[in-house]
């Protein structure tokens, strides 16, 4: 933000003295990347982890792409779509960035996408994958490095089949993503759904799940499946234990247990998390050179395992670098940059990586389990592969 103000002051000088214009200096001017994430509110813990992954990537590439320096403009979305949209507006109208990336939350991304794309700027989502943008609403300048939101829960439903779970009780927050998650699990799961609960989310998020957990217990289902990102995750697991469900029901989650929440749960002794399973497209124990370098350097620097938020921000930087490198740093030809982005010629921490027609990845999904590593730290380990080269079901609606 300091830079923003400086840029404003320079802007005044530049417009007042147009002969100092920068046409000739174009290739030595920095590549500008806008990064929108959550740095305030309790969700900041996710944003900070994501930014750590982003910063580590910049460090690994020496702060340089296609022979040009990289200038980063970090903006906070305050966990609010409206604030995120204002931040995106600022990035494209004031800073005039070349790429906008980041975005944890689908609703923040959906609010911001029009501003960014209207200004012909490339938008690379590093986590949010709203299905609207994967189908009819796909756009030539929009890329998602993560997934379409329903892929992980679809994998979850399939994983429950493979695990031989006969009946399940479902809990998720009552907002759009929560409902999408539920629908997606129900789409692939073939067993019996004994009951489902949607809890209050948003301004006065419900964190006391006692009523719902009693219902889950009474339902007699084999397993409980839950989706509680951020602070709700810790509250959920702790009450799952207090309600005495850990002994009677198997726990499955998506987006709930990760590199951010696990150290905290370990600290608070929430042992119900250990052994619980969930689906993801990546895990810190994946065996490829890019991932090993990323995970070990992240561990050395921050003392915790990276979450998938950090991992995807890292991948996003690498993707952008691959495109800027491919065009030799000349970003004036948008079509060439776009073509280079589509190629996705970079070493992903997921191993193989390619984009589908809708600019969402075609990738593998895994079942992972929470385990303690050799030093006793809680992390996740891949148990089995659920889907191979999976493409989201919305891609067929995309006319691209």
């Amino acid at each position: 933000m300091k830079k923003a103000l400086k840029a404003a002051v320079y802007g005044l000088f530049l417009t007042a003295t147009p002969w100092l214009g920068t046409a000739s200096a174009a290739d030595s001017a920095p590549v500008k990347i806008g990064f929108v994430t959550t740095l305030t509110t309790p969700a900041a813990v996710i944003g900070n982890d994501m930014k750590n992954g982003f910063d580590l990537a910049l460090e690994h590439i020496g702060g340089e792409m296609g022979g040009r320096k990289v200038d980063v403009f970090v903006e906070d979305d305050g966990f609010k779509p409206e604030t995120g949209k204002q931040a995106a507006d600022k990035l494209v109208t004031q800073e005039k960035v070349d790429f906008v990336t980041g975005f944890i939350w689908s609703h923040v991304l959906l609010a911001s996408v029009k501003s960014v794309l209207d200004s012909d700027t490339f938008l690379i989502s590093a986590n949010a994958g709203p299905t609207q943008l994967a189908g009819k609403g796909c756009n030539k300048d929009f890329f998602s490095i993560s997934w379409a939101n329903d892929q992980i829960p679809m994998a979850m439903g399939e994983a429950l089949n493979q695990e031989g779970i006969k009946s399940v009780y479902i809990m998720a927050p009552n907002y759009a993503s929560g409902k999408d998650m539920m629908a997606a699990v129900e789409m692939t799961y073939k067993g019996e759904i004994k009951g489902r609960d949607m809890t209050k989310w948003g301004a006065d998020t419900q964190l006391d799940f006692s009523a719902e957990l009693s219902k889950a217990k009474a339902s007699g289902a084999d397993a409980l499946w839950a989706f509680y990102p951020g602070k709700a995750g810790g509250a959920f697991v702790s009450q799952f234990m207090q309600a005495g469900l850990a002994d009677t029901m198997k726990l499955y989650t998506v987006y709930t247990l990760d590199g951010i929440s696990l150290p905290k749960m370990q600290e608070a002794g929430l042992t119900a998390a250990l052994g619980s399973r969930g689906t993801q497209n990546w895990s810190p124990d994946m065996d490829n050179a890019a991932n090993q370098k990323f995970v070990s350097d992240f561990l050395a620097k921050h003392g915790t395992y990276p979450s998938f938020y950090a991992q995807q921000a890292y991948d996003a930087v690498m993707l952008i670098k691959s495109a800027v490198d491919a065009v030799g740093g000349d970003l004036s030809d948008k079509d060439a940059v776009r073509a280079a982005l589509v190629k996705a010629d970079f070493a992903s921490t997921r191993g193989k990586f390619k984009f589908g027609n809708n600019h969402f990845p075609i990738q593998d999904f895994y079942l992972r389990e929470v385990v303690a590593d050799s030093e006793g730290r809680w992390t996740t380990k891949i148990v089995s592969k659920i889907f191979t080269d999976h493409q989201d079901p919305h891609a067929v609606d995309c006319k691209m």
Partner: protein
């Protein structure tokens, strides 16, 4: 009431401010700072809402902690029709004004039976209900909000997607709303509303049904706020129940008080200072210490406290005292 002397600092300041707002698009174009035009547009729209709140709060003594709901309703009256491909701007404005007026009529009829803190809380309760209602409408995005993919359409040839055109639509709207309220305050209706604030018994003894007068004032206020909401929908191109939360209503009250309640220009000063503070504080703090900008709510809260404790009459009152010196 000062009506004759126009050369007070307050009047000079107000006129200068309006002139500055009138030429903002030109300045922003010269300096190539489209971002500041965007902020100025926001200021105009919120000022319309603040003026409508100021009328009932400042002149009428009705502290509504639920006015953000009207902005939200107005915005959804743009978003929902556009979602169904009804693009006529006239329809949007008609809906925004009638639906929010209707909401104001129903909730006002109940709320105005109460007074004081009960009124504050019941207006907030109704706004919370509206909040949860929109939160539960999955079809229109629920909590995720609704992106408005294109703007309202009026005449062919007028493209309100153009920031400068849209800015001037907001500017003219603001001037019209200021004029409307100027006439309203001075009218017999306005005198009854003001009279009921200072001495309700007396107005009733004079044969006025203060309840009816208040209800009409509340409905007008809601309708104007709804109109501001329709503009807001076209401005942000995105709406979510977040816009209607009780803290938003609180912010709107702060804007009115910061500028000075029961004054013609107070809302303009208030909204302007509020948004400039919101924009500048993080930057200034980051300059002092990198990363400090995230804590801008701390000085913001202190400023709020300072204004309430020490600045009687807000900015408008301050300028008045400057004139008397």
């Amino acid at each position: 009431m000062r009506t004759s002397n126009f050369l007070t600092p307050k009047w000079l300041f107000s006129v200068a401010l309006l002139l500055l707002l009138a030429v903002t698009p030109i300045l922003s174009d010269i300096f190539d700072q489209a971002f500041y035009l965007s902020i100025a547009t926001r200021i105009l729209i919120l000022t319309i809402a603040a003026i409508s709140l100021n009328f009932i709060l400042g002149y009428g003594g009705m502290i509504s902690l639920g006015h953000a709901a009207f902005i939200g309703i107005g915005a959804y009256c743009v978003g929902i029709p556009i979602y169904h491909d009804y693009s006529s701007g006239w329809l949007h404005i008609f809906l925004a004004i009638t639906v929010s007026a209707l909401f104001a009529l129903i909730t006002g009829a109940i709320s105005l039976r109460t007074k004081g803190v009960h009124f504050i809380m019941i207006t907030m309760a109704f706004a919370q209900m509206a909040f949860f209602l929109f939160l539960s409408m999955d079809e229109y995005g629920g909590d995720d909000g609704l992106t408005i993919w294109y703007d309202s359409e009026f005449f062919s040839g007028i493209d309100i997607d153009n920031p400068t055109t849209f800015y001037y639509i907001c500017f003219v709207s603001l001037i019209l709303v200021m004029y409307l309220y100027h006439r309203l305050v001075a009218s017999r209706f306005g005198r009854v509303i003001r009279g009921a604030k200072s001495n309700e018994k007396r107005m009733q003894a004079l044969g006025y049904s203060t309840y009816n007068y208040r209800l009409v004032a509340y409905v007008i206020s809601g309708a104007v706020c709804g109109y501001a909401g329709a503009l807001m929908g076209n401005y942000t191109n995105f709406i979510s129940p977040d816009m209607m939360g009780w803290t938003r209503s609180g912010e709107l009250i702060f804007m009115v008080v910061l500028g000075g309640t029961a004054t013609a220009f107070g809302p303009v000063f208030g909204v302007l200072s509020f948004l400039v503070l919101e924009e500048m504080l993080p930057n200034v703090m980051d300059m002092i210490h990198d990363g400090a900008g995230f804590y801008w709510h701390l000085p913001f809260g202190l400023i709020l406290l300072f204004v309430v404790l020490f600045v009687r009459g807000g900015i408008s009152g301050f300028l008045d005292r400057l004139g008397k010196r």
